[in-house]
């Protein structure tokens, strides 16, 4: 029997992404092809036009800022006009432009790309890592998103998966995945807090687990608080020390800044396990007046780092308090507290959390891998082997309609399992009202304006009557694919209007198809150009060897005992190689290589003492 197709779980993060799978019943992280568990969520186009993804893209982020896209997750599925995007624009070095339908495009390598396309590049990389691990194609995945993501953001993430050639089985919440990884679906009934402090964002979620069903009770956090803030404090400290000693501001030099950033992150990571870290950056700067380049040497202790970042740790506690307060949950009510994300390796953070909750938080050996492992467990469960762990697909946010006074009437509350349907009866709010406008909203805020408008339509031809006398029946229907249809019916006349709302990532189906087509072409071209390059290198090496061998043969009296035709044939082969070298034809290059290597054998044969004549 053929082995079943491998399934993967992907934690598509703001700063780092991870892919995991379940093997022999155990969830395991799949290391990327450079041997790392984490793949930075960074893509770039280098100066020579090459697409870079992951670690290599991150390492050139500062020296090539305009062409390096990071933290695309902050932008995915959002509208250009939204304040989140406008806020983000102020701090992003890469160019973001408005798309055709208030979506946004990122300019990279002279092309305007949608955010799902950017995310797809990262997913593609993870997919390739998984394929390298399994040694066969991988196409099915579960991807995680923050609990607060709305439909558009989830759909955009799904689209990214499709562009990357993945069949996205399910989008699940990151805190849910973390809880799954700890097996809480089976062992815990009650409330659980998940604190996820990653590279760029801090998410706090409160989950209610009941017989294996996960409800999101409250979410919150700060999308601009993460490990990078800790790095920046170290950079500031280093820059300040260097300025004091040499009077040079290293921040003005991109190369120096890139090295500082790498060194700061490394020191931060080290200080989670040791108490002192050496930072050595030789030749970091050439003084303006000329002279020998200067070195930066510093010793950072854990105490000093805690000192530099104490306010950040306080913010972690402050935000947690806030979210729990909003959800109406007391710390003592919680059954468990889970710490997720690379930053929870930091002793100071663990201490702060322990102090606040007055209990030991769950923190695995690799807290940054937990979400991906949970996603893998879910993917595995979806394949049918362990149905007890199957998460139900739920509506992530409430759905409702706008009512008089600018308020929202919720019709389907969040966390309702789909498929579902609900009906409510409304009455006209004005005398002699002939027309009613139905605005379909998504979100938790009671003011209509603060929610996402999914769509609107108008029901006309109502009977003229005093307000409150005409009744309209509004029905929401969500099918298993998450497609929402809303209809409104005049109860007396049975006149009916309806719309179907599909979550839109900002990309239309046609755009998506075109992008997927382009992706396929890109991958084909990339594979072809890799092959061409490899063949050319082979050809060049062989040609040099043949030239060498020919030269040697000419210097020897009588051609070193070669057959008469060997040398002219080698020259011909070289000539041929020269002609085909620049053609984009792998086959021709291969044949030229064979020809050359044949000549080489003949040229070298007498030298090895075995004249074959």
């Amino acid at each position: 029997m053929a082995e079943s197709e491998p399934l993967i779980g992907i934690d598509l993060g703001t700063t780092n992404s991870i892919v995991a799978t379940v093997q022999d019943g155990q969830p395991v992280v799949i290391k990327n092809r450079t041997g790392q568990a984490l793949t930075p969520s960074v893509v770039a186009v280098s100066k020579n036009g090459k697409r870079l993804v992951g670690g290599i893209a991150k390492r050139q982020a500062i020296t090539n800022p305009q062409e390096t896209v990071y933290a695309a997750k902050r932008l995915i599925g959002r509208k250009f006009s939204s304040h989140e995007v406008q806020d983000a624009l102020r701090s992003l070095p890469y160019a973001v432009v408005a798309g055709q339908h208030d979506d946004l495009r990122i300019r990279m390598g002279g092309k305007d790309l949608s955010v799902p396309e950017i995310s797809a590049m990262i997913l593609q990389e993870l997919k390739a890592d998984a394929e390298a691990h399994f040694g066969r194609p991988v196409s099915k995945a579960v991807i995680t998103v923050p609990a607060y993501f709305n439909d558009a953001q989830r759909q955009a993430t799904k689209d990214a998966g499709r562009i990357a050639g993945l069949d996205v089985l399910r989008i699940i919440n990151e805190p849910t995945a973390a809880a799954l990884a700890y097996g809480f679906g089976r062992t815990v009934n009650g409330r659980v807090a998940v604190l996820d402090l990653g590279g760029g964002t801090f998410d706090v979620s409160v989950l209610e687990i009941n017989q294996g069903v996960f409800d999101v009770v409250g979410t919150g956090g700060d999308t601009y608080l993460g490990g990078e803030d800790w790095d920046n404090r170290i950079i500031e400290w280093l820059v300040f020390g260097f300025a004091k000693e040499h009077g040079i501001d290293l921040r003005k030099d991109r190369m120096a800044l890139q090295r500082l950033k790498d060194a700061a992150e490394k020191a931060k990571v080290e200080l989670s396990s040791v108490r002192e870290s050496q930072i050595n950056l030789p030749f970091i700067s050439t003084p303006p007046g000329g002279g020998a380049a200067l070195h930066l040497n510093a010793t950072l202790t854990r105490d000093k780092l805690d000192d530099l970042t104490s306010d950040l740790a306080e913010r972690v506690v402050g935000i947690t308090t806030e979210v729990l307060g909003e959800a109406g949950v007391r710390p003592s009510e919680l059954k468990e507290v889970i710490l997720v994300g690379g930053m929870s390796r930091m002793p100071r953070i663990v201490e702060a959390v322990r102090g606040y909750f007055r209990r030991e938080p769950c923190k695995g050996v690799h807290p940054e891998e937990v979400v991906a492992l949970g996603a893998a467990i879910q993917a595995h469960a979806l394949a049918g082997q362990e149905s007890e762990l199957l998460l139900l697909d739920v509506t992530p946010q409430s759905l409702g309609v706008a009512i008089a006074g600018g308020f929202v009437r919720r019709i389907i509350p969040k966390n309702t399992t789909v498929p579902t349907s609900a009906t409510e009866v409304f009455a006209t709010s004005k005398d002699f009202q002939r027309v009613v406008k139905i605005m379909v909203l998504q979100g938790e805020h009671e003011m209509a304006q603060q929610n996402e408008l999914l769509g609107e339509f108008v029901l006309t031809g109502l009977r003229e009557a005093l307000r409150g006398q005409v009744e309209i029946e509004v029905t929401f229907d969500i099918n298993a694919e998450g497609i929402v249809s809303v209809s409104a019916k005049d109860r007396e006349t049975a006149l009916r209007q309806s719309i179907t709302v599909t979550a839109s990532s900002g990309l239309t189906e046609e755009e998506l198809k075109r992008i997927m087509e382009e992706q396929r072409e890109y991958l084909m071209a990339a594979r072809l150009s890799d092959e061409l390059k490899a063949k050319r290198v082979e050809l060049d090496t062989l040609a040099r060897d043949v030239v060498d061998a020919l030269t040697r043969a000419r210097l020897l009296p009588g051609g070193g005992g070669l057959a008469v035709d060997v040398m002219p044939r080698a020259e011909q082969a070289l000539d041929h190689a020269r002609r085909v070298r620049d053609a984009e034809d792998v086959g021709a290059l291969g044949r030229a290589c064979e020809l050359l290597s044949g000549c080489l054998t003949q040229l070298r044969a007498p030298a090895q003492g075995g004249a074959r004549r």
Binding site: T34, K47, N48, T63, F283, A293, R536, L550, R554, R578
Partner: protein, 290 residues
Amino acid sequence: MSPQRANQLIEAGLWLRLSGDHQGAQKLFERALQLDPGNTRAREYLEGAGVAQGASPFPAPPTEPVRAQVLGRMTPVAAPSLEGDWGAWAEGQGGPEEANPWKTPAPVYLPEDGGDGGRVDALELLSREDESEPEVFSLPESDTQEYGVPPEGDTQEYGVPAGDSELDLLLRGAEDLLELDDHSGAVDLLFKAQELAPGDPRVEALRQRSERMLMAMLESKLGDLGRVPRVRLQADDIIWLNLDHRAGFVLAQIDGSVTYEDLFALSGMTRLDTARILAQLLDEGVISAG
């Protein structure tokens, strides 16, 4: 005339040396000494260069770089079809010996109508430019004046349309340096020429050609670009090297996992600059080819 020419060559040599091209510099110093055997500066710099290299605790591997330098002359008895350099035409270009429109023997000096007495050539231009890198000239300003170089901005006095003539000079200078097999210097000159006349097809053609040559030479020195270079020295030894911050940056990126090709992408510099630095690090034995 010879001493003047020799001094110009020395200036150019110093310039090259500071931009990291020691071999090119040495060649120019040697040529200067040929022209003006009594030139003490040339002798000094030549000896200085030797001492500096000898003093380096990490002498260059003896044979490899030399081989790369004379790549084009590797096949002295070759049939015509083999003449020239595989690396060069491998880059989509004829060998150095064939089809070079600028191959006329080094017309270094400005034609007579070029000015009233100011025999200016490219090397002079070279020797007086570039305030941005003040360390380039260890000589006081007055020294430069001695050679009859007009002060900055005075070119107009000579009644020469500044852009054009400088451009011609730079082009000739570049040919001159190519003649000396100094592609590195030629590229620098042409880069300058390009700033003067952006988009000039002659400059563009010559620059592309010499860059390609240089790149091919450097790449053949680096070998397979898919290989992973490694740092050979301990951190404690590295700080005693004589590197600038750009070389320091490239060196810092070499961590035993990135390939040469990755480094080109990482450096934030042009491919050529990166290749030059890598070749230099390799030459000085700081890194191993992998």
